[in-house]
Structure formats: C-alpha cells, structure tokens
C-alpha cells in the first residue's frame, strides 16, 4: 500500500486531467446504467400491451444514451491513457537520470540486464496500472454501489441477495491480489536473472566460442528458463482457479434471481421489466468483474515493479554534492591527499593513510603491484568514490566542497576500459565537449595519434563505431579515449594504464605527444613504462594500499627498495630494452 501511495505521487501532477477523466467515467457509468432502465420500461410497456410510439421513444432514448456513453467512454479512456503514458514518461526520465548519477559503487554491484528490466517491464507494469487499473477499480466500485442502490429500489431482498455474491467476488479479488504479488515479484526477479545470463553470453561471446562452451551455455539458459516456466505455471494455476471462481460467483445469481424473482413477479411484488433489469445489471457487472481479475493482476505487478523502481530512485548516491557547493575555478592544479583511507566495503581497506602533496604542473607516476591501490587513487580524485577517512584537496579546497561538474571538468581521466557509444567517431571524441568544433576534435585526435587512422577510414570522422567499439582495435579504442579526455582540456590529467595496449611504434609517438600534453597540467600516470616514470617529478610506489616509497627516479634508485626491485626486474624481463633514447 505504501508503495502504491508513493507511486501515486507521480500522478499528482496530472490530477486535473484525472479529475476530468473521472467525470467522463462517471458519465459513462451513468449512461450504462440508464440503458437497462429503458429496456425494463420497454418490457413493461410490451407486457402491459402499451403503445408502439412509447417503444419508439424508448428506442430513441437508448440510442441517445448509447451515443453519450460512447463519447464519455472516449474521453475517459483517452485521458487515462494520456495520464498513464505521461506518468511512465516521468518515471523513465527519473530512472534514467538517477542511474546516470549513481556513483561507481552502485554500478559496480548492479548488472545492466537487471537494470534494463526495471527500466522496461517494471515501468510498463506501472503504466498499465495508472492506465486501466486505477480508474478501472474506481469504476467497478461506482458500478457496484450504483447498481446496489438501483436494485434495492426495485426489490430489496433480491437486491441484497444479488449483491452478496458480487461482494464475494470483490473479496476474492483482494485475496488473489495478495496471493499473486509475491509470485510476480519472483517472476520478475527470475526474468532479470535470465536477462543477465543472456547479456553475459552475448558480451562474452568470444570466450564462449573459444572454449566451445555453447552447449553448456544453452543448458544454463534453459535451466533458468525452466525455473521461470515453473513459476509461471504456478501463477497460472492460481489464476485459473480464482478467475473461474470469480466468474462463477457473478453468474450464479442469475438462476437465483429467476427463481426468487419469478415468485415475486407472480405475487405481484415486482414487474417483469424489473426482473429483467436485475439480469441486465448482472451482465453489465460481468465484464468489469472479468477485468477485476486483470486489474488485480496488474496491481500485484505494479506493487512489485514499483518496489523495484523505487528501490533505485531511493538509492542515494554515495557521492553527494554538498548543499552550497562552490564552483572550482581558476585551478592551479595542486593536489593533496591528507591521511586518506578508503575501502570499497568496510571490512577490506584498499588505501590506508595515504598522504602526499603534488605541486601544480607536476608529473606523478603511480607504481605498484596488483591491487596495490593505484587505480583507486585515480578514482578518488574525480570523486567517483568518496574517501572513508582523511581528505583530498585541490588548491587547498576539499573536493567534497565543490560541485561535481566543476570538479570533473577540472580532472580528466583516461580509464583502463573504454566504452564507445554507438555514434560516429567524431561524436565519441566530442562526447564530453559537445560544443567542440571540428578543428578541435581533429586536434585532439592528432594529439592522441588517432587522426591518421581515422582519415584512412572511408567515412573518416563520420564512421560509426559499435556498442563496444568492436570495429576498432584495443589500441585505437584507447587512443580515442585519450582524445576524448584531451578535448576537455583538463587542468589535472589522470591516465590509467592508458598507453599499455597501444603497439610499440604508436606508443613511441604517443609518448612524444604526451610530453606536450602534460605540459602545464598536473598529471597522474599509472604505468609501467620506465621512460615515463623516470621523467616523473614524483614517483609514488604503492604496496597493499600504502605508500611504500616516494621520490624521484634517482632518489629511489639510490635506496635499495621496492622501486629498485621493480625497475631491475623490468630490465631483466625486457632484456634491458624497454627504454627510450632520451
């Protein structure tokens, strides 16, 4: 119920339209109810052997009522559809916006397929509810009350008897809704799991094929599909039983009315027309009752879907902008870590008491083994995650005190894994800088040593790149990411392993380009390229989330520490040749 009330919040803005829809609905109901009255009059006229002109007027009245009913039904159904589509539109926007803003910590845990199912199936369920569900339920209630009143006027014992059955139907509908809710919730979860299996199979298609694992994958999928099937079958059983029972409860009063009503007519307590009226009303009720089952179905789906959507909307991004956060402007580029600690979850700290100070324009190399915390440091500076202890400041300002946009506009990061959007190469390069003109894009591409390659493509910068950039090689993708970041012209530049999968020759070119690029920027580079490391103003050697050593190349080489060990091992591994002539 709480979920429904909160979902109602989305419709509130359209309450005026809803009220109009409600008026149309009431009018439509009134005309529906008028027709049996007219028919009942007609029957009584016929039985009393009245005038044919009276019949004619009744016939005309029926057509009038029917037409009015049609028009009001048009208004009602059109307006509710508009409101429901509008609500779905709002929810979709809100969801998209939220997903865009939730921090990395959320997306580390979430799966795309599962989020997609929330954005599609669940939103659709809610839309259905606000479309046919909400006012539909109201309509049934109105019909129920109105028919009760009308029938009581005609013959109250018979009316009470009839309504008792209809009340039973209503009760059953509530029971069913409660029964089906957990089942629907489970079905939706199972669908999401199935979606994940599928997505993984598709994104990992090369691995699947390489290991000739197709049959096992099929088995995995069909196994999960079977679980889903079983749950659906269970739901079908429950539904079939209850739906048929509800329809039975609404039909069985007809013989009872005939039996008891017939005696009343014989006793002169009611007319034949009134008796027919009872039956007409029951038949009018039959349609909504069938729909009631449908609506309860929607209701359960809405509640479970709504729950899953609100779950996302309620998730507070761990990284929050402070109220009154200021713009970070005229950045010099001094970066300071003061006693910074961080852990993705509480139990396992990834960084411990990291403390360093970088002057504007310095080149900092982060060096260390697997999981030593280099990438984490890179991710903390643009605030993809928040520190769990200590503080990070730029030009002395705590990064938590500035707006995220100005911070991330200042800090450019080239990440290890690059996502390419399905758009042209040009659009992908200008992804963060939409107002960049073609010259700027080309300049960035040139700087990233990508221009020649792009020009060699038949469509040049207008070449479309696929979802995961399949048509580009790893090196090309990374250089595109470099171009993308450079176009932003960030004051602080972070390169996460970014030159690693570029081949040797390109890398040489890029290193030269980088000399230019890092000029005047504070640059953090995570790399194992000694040529770059040697030129760094500050080398931070990390081990297990702590800074083990720091200093310049010469300083570090003069102590017999970890850096020297790494340096020499690389020389040995590379036969002393991973060096650049300087």
């Amino acid at each position: 119920m709480r979920i429904l009330l909160r979902l109602m919040g989305f419709v509130k803005r359209y309450r005026r339209r809803l009220v109009v829809a409600l008026v149309f609905m009431l009018a439509s109901t009134a005309f529906v109810l008028a027709i049996p009255q007219l028919i009942s009059n007609a029957i009584d006229t016929v039985v009393a052997e009245g005038e044919q002109t009276a019949l004619m007027w009744l016939a005309v009245a029926v057509v009038g009522a029917g037409a009015m009913r049609g028009i009001s039904a048009f208004g009602y159904s059109y307006l509710t559809e508009v409101v429901s589509q509008r609500t779905a539109y709002d929810i979709r926007n809100a969801l998209y916006d939220k997903l865009q803003r939730l921090s990395f910590a959320f997306h580390d845990q979430a799966q795309t397929g599962e989020l997609m199912s929330r954005g599609t199936a669940d939103v659709e369920a809610i839309r259905m509810f606000f479309g046919r569900g909400l006012l539909g339920m109201l309509q049934i209630a109105v019909l129920f009350v109105a028919i009760t009143v009308l029938l009581i006027q005609a013959n109250w014992p018979l009316a009470l008897l009839t309504m008792a059955f209809l009340a039973a139907v209503g009760w059953r509908a509530v029971v069913v809704a409660r029964l089906l809710r957990p089942i629907w919730l489970k079905i939706q979860q199972l669908m999401a799991v199935l979606g994940t299996i599928l997505e993984e199979n598709l994104t990992g298609v090369r691995v699947v094929r390489s290991f000739a694992h197709e049959q096992e994958e099929s088995k995995k999928f069909s196994g999960q599909a079977t679980v889903l099937y079983d749950e659906h079958i269970y739901a079908t059983r429950k539904r079939a039983f209850n739906l048929s029972l509800m329809v039975f409860l609404v039909t069985i009063p007809i013989p009872i009315i005939l039996w008891y009503g017939g005696r009343q007519v014989a006793a002169g307590a009611m007319t034949l027309g009134q008796l027919s009226q009872f039956i007409f009303y029951l038949i009018i009720m039959a349609m909504p009752v069938r729909r009631l089952a449908f609506i309860t179905n929607i209701l359960s789906r809405t509640v479970s879907g709504g729950q899953r959507i609100l779950e996302i909307l309620d998730t507070e991004s761990v990284v929050q902008e402070k109220p009154g956060a200021v713009e970070l402007s005229n950045v010099q580029g001094a970066v300071r870590f003061e006693d910074v600690s961080f852990g993705y979850d509480r139990s396992a700290p990834v960084l411990k008491n990291v403390d360093f100070n970088v002057q504007p324009g310095q080149l900092v190399a982060l060096v260390g083994g697997l999981g030593s915390g280099k990438s984490t440091i890179a991710h903390l500076i643009p605030r993809f995650y928040d520190v769990t202890g200590g503080r990070i400041s730029i030009d002395g300002i705590d990064i938590r005190d500035v707006t995220l946009e100005s911070l991330r506009g200042t800090v450019g990061i080239v990440q290890q894994h690059t996502f390419l959007f399905s758009a042209t190469i040009r659009d992908n390069i200008a992804y963060g800088t939409m107002d960049a003109d073609m010259e700027q894009v080309v300049a960035a591409a040139r700087a990233a040593q990508l221009h020649d390659f792009i020009e060699s493509l038949p469509e040049g910068y207008d070449t479309w790149v696929g979802e995961r950039g399949v048509t580009l090689s790893g090196g090309q993708r990374q250089r595109l990411a470099v171009a993308r970041t450079l176009l932003m012209n960030p004051r602080i530049l972070i390169m996460d392993d970014s030159t690693s999968s570029v081949d040797v020759e390109t890398e040489l070119l890029m290193r030269r380009a980088l000399q230019e690029l890092i000029k005047g920027r504070t640059t953090f580079i995570i790399t194992h390229r000694l040529s770059i490391i040697r030129n760094a103003d500050l080398i931070l050697v990390l081990r297990d989330g702590e800074i083990a050593e720091r200093g310049t190349h010469n300083e570090l080489m003069s102590t017999d520490g970890l850096y020297r060990e790494i340096y020499e091992s690389q020389l040995i591994a590379g036969d002393g040749c991973d060096e650049e002539v300087s």
């Binding site: 016929v46 009038g64 037409a67 694992h213 048929s244 039956i279 696929g466 970041t485 390109t506």
Partner: protein, 598 residues
Amino acid sequence: MRGQLSGTFDSDKVMGKVYDSRVAGRLIKYLGPVKSNLGVGATGMVLRTLTTIAVPYLAGLAVDRVELGDLTGLDSIVIVAVAVVMVGWGGRYLEELFLGFVGQKILYRMRTEMFDHLQRLSLSFFDRNLVGRIMSRVQNDVQQIQELLASGMLNVVFSALTLIAIAIWMLVLNTSLALLTLSVVPALAIVTIIWQKYARRAFIQVRRAIATVNAQLQEGIAGVRVTQSLTREDVNADQFESVNREHFTANVRAARLQAAMWPMVETLTAIGTALVIYFGGAQVLAGEMSVGVLVAFMLWVRRFFDPVLELTMEYVEIQRAMASGARIFELLDVEPEITDQPGALEAPPAREIKFEGVSFSYTPGARVLHDIDLTINPGETVAIVGRTGAGKSSLVNLITRFYEVDEGQVTVDGCDVNCVTQQSLRRQIGVVTQDPFLFYGTIEDNIRYGRPEASREEVVEAARKAGAHDFISHLDHGYETHVGERGQNLSGGQRQLVCLARAILANPPIIVLDEATSNVDTHAERVMQKSFRRLMKGRTCLIIAHRLSTVTRADRIVVLEDGKIAEIGSHRELLARKGLYHHMFGALVAPGPETITG
C-alpha cells in the same frame, strides 16, 4: 558468402510488414507440440462460450414461464440454468489453466530456441548487431508474445466464436428480427477496416519509439562511467528526455485512435438494442413473439458487441505481438555464416598450424590479409608484431575459424579448419586476450569454464600455475568469491590471471596469447611471464605482442605490415636486417646513455 549482410536488423523493414500472415502462420506452428493441452483448453473455451450464450436464452424462457405464472416450469428452467452455470465454471477453469500452460510452453520454447540459435551464429553477426538490440528481441519481444498468448489471442478467438454462435441462435429463434439486429454488423466491419489503417500507422511509430528508448537506456547504463567522468549527465538526460517524449507522443496518438472506437461501438450497440426494442416490441404486441425471446435478444445484443469492443481493444496488442513475432523469426532466420560442413570430423589433437595463400577481409573490398603463407611448427613459439591494424588479430581469428578465409586455407596438422567441427577445433586452441572477460559467478566457476568436470584440486593447481593462487587465497571468500559483471571487483591484472588459469585448466595443445599482458603492470607481467613459460612448454604458441620482452623470447618473429608478411626471423636476425622490425624496436634496444645506472 559474406557481404549478403544477412543478420543486420533493419527495423524499418520489419515494421513495414506488421500483421504478416506468414508470421501468424509460423506462430501457429508452435501450437503443434502442445496439441493435447490446447485441445483440453479449447474444449473448456467452447463449453464456456456455449454457456454464456445459453444463459440469456434460459432467462428468456424463464421470463415466459413467469409471465404465464408457471412456477414449476420456472423451477425446472432454473435447475437447468444452475447446471449450465456450473458447466461454464468448469469450462472456464479448464480454459484458463490449459491455455495458460500452452502459452508458457510456447514462451519457453521460443526463448530457448532463440538462445540456442544465438550460440550457433558467427562472430560477424555480433560485430554488426548491438547486444542491447539482440537482448531486446529475446526479452521484450518474447514478452509481447506472452501478453498476446495470455489474454489477446484467447479473447479474439472467444469473440469470434461468440459472435457466430449468437448470430446463429438469433436466426433460429426469429429470422426477421435477427436480420434487422445483425444489420449493424456490416457498418461495424467497415468502421473497423478504416480504423485499422490509421491504427497500424500509429502503432508502427509506437514500436519504433520504444526501440529507441530502450537502446538509449541500455547505453546510458553501460556507458555510465564515461558519462560521469566527462560530466555529461545533463546532456544525456536531455537526449533521453527527447526520445522518451517521442515515445510518449506516439503512444498518445495511438491511444486516441484506440479510444475512438468507443463511440462507434457503443452507438452501434445502442442502435442494435433500439431495433430490438422497436421492432421486437412491435412483434410481441402483435402476438408474433413472446416477451422471453425479446429479453433474450436484448441480452444477446449486449454480449454481441462486448467481444467486438474487446477485439478492437486487443487489436493493438495483436499487432504488437505480430511485430514482435516478425522480429523473433527474423533472428531465428539469420543463417550462421560459418557452419560445420556436413560430415565434419572431430579435430585431432593438433600441433601444427599452416596458412597457405590466405587472404581475408571483414567487409568485402577491404582486405585485411593478403596471401599469407606461414607454417608454425609443433612446439614452436611464434610472435607476431606489427602496427595497429596490420592484421595480427585477424590471423588469430582465422585459426579459431571465428571468420572464414576469402582465399587459401588454414590447416591444423594438415586438416583444413573448414573440414572439422568448430567446437572440436576450438577445444584445441586456448586464447587469452587483452580483454579478460569473466562470467558472473565464483572465481572457481570461471576457472572451470573450459573444463566443467575439473576437481577443486585441479582448479587450484591451474590457479597456481597461472600465478593467481596467491591473490585468490587472500580474498575473503577465496575461490568462492563472486565476481560481478565483467569481473569489476577484481583489477585488470587479477582478471587476466584468472583467465590464464582458465586457459591452463582447459589444457589445449595450441596457445594463442593476444596482447595478453598489455593491461597488467610490471609486477603482474612478471608473474604472468613465468606462467606463460610454463603454459607454453610443449605447446605450439602464437603470441601477439607489443612488448619487446615478450617478443624476444619467441623462436621466430613474424612482422606484419598492411596485411602482408614483411619479415620473418629471430630477434637477432631481424635486428641485423635493419628492416621494419629494427625500425620498430631498434630505438628500444639501442643502449641509451642512462641505461642501467645505479
């Protein structure tokens, strides 16, 4: 073969043929295996339909008894009516239950059929089609069909049945009145035909709009890290808002059309009723018909049009399902470009790889490899170097037959790769790529991927050999640690080590390392180099590398340039030749003034 562009989804083309009878025909084929369930369900439906039509007739009879004051006659009619209602209940139950089964069985079959089919399609298909699009077919389109099966199709069949049955019964009872009442049917038919022309167009737009919305949503989620680091959230939100708005507008247009059916149907229903009242009433007054028949007619007229209204309401659902059906079948109809030849043999444990006059292109006209001749001897380690786009990865893709050669042939131990089954071929070749992909599950599951029957000891052994055991045992849950989508809670190097363990456990005679160490740091590389050496021992090895450290260790080095082999030889030979290799690596090798200082 290639170049037919089979397998690129053209949504416009699909949308154009909505309401395709061939689609309906193929959907119906799915009913075959569920005949018995369908039979029971249909029987239930017929029973239910008959009872709903019989009740008004019985009511009419009862009214006549009442008018005559014949209470015993009334009682026997009531008893019959109760029996009929009970039968209707049973019929309805059977219908809901068994047709429900039918629906679920069809959905299950469709889903698994699509998935299995995807397993057979060639990689080129996945290069051309976005993951999100394919997913939408397997998920959303199947879901659409489900909606149809759950309610739509049933209602349509029921509507048609009811209409016919009522018409017949009316004609039997009172031909002239029946004909008068039925005169509204042609009017309704004409209105519906005109309406559906507009509805179809509106519906096509709805469908197109939802596809765009979903694609945007998918990309928004998948690319969120890039978006946030470039602070493009607002721009994206605006873009999404605009496609979302288009979707909204299209839906509203469709809704208006759908709602427009109400006034028509309701007015026609009222006209039908009015005709019964006026002419039927006159017949009763003239003593030509009983009041009971009049009541029955009036009850029927209502029932007559309720299903018609439902039919128009379901119309959109039906069309939607037809479009979904078309999209599903389109996917199922994509022929795998690479198939096993009839009578393809199992590949023998292979050791030698041979390229003979191989030419290859991904897209026609854009040759990637020209006339490659290369033999890699059993147990030999060959490194392939070259500029980006020189064709290094393509060479590997041809050995595993992910793509097919245009000319020439690739053989393993003298066996043309085209003549053996793809699965047996790929089992001979272990590929470790630069992009380590892990599946959702535990680390142990992932290592076991290539050999599901391996014991825990073998898994640990493989991890040890890969150099992954140390970090795995330091994790809180060790081998039971769950790795998320694309293994995001492990670092790149750690993921690569797990992938390496996976390849080691699979124990293939041929190993391909495709820039496998490019994403890991020096320390990890050192660990991996050691593992590689262990892995390479006694196997035929093909290495694509940028790092000199990896290259120098190879028995032979092949230098590719623009899809051709420029040079072949050992590190020293190639350096001495002062060719392309020297040009690429010479700078790195030449001892600089600062090298190896204290």
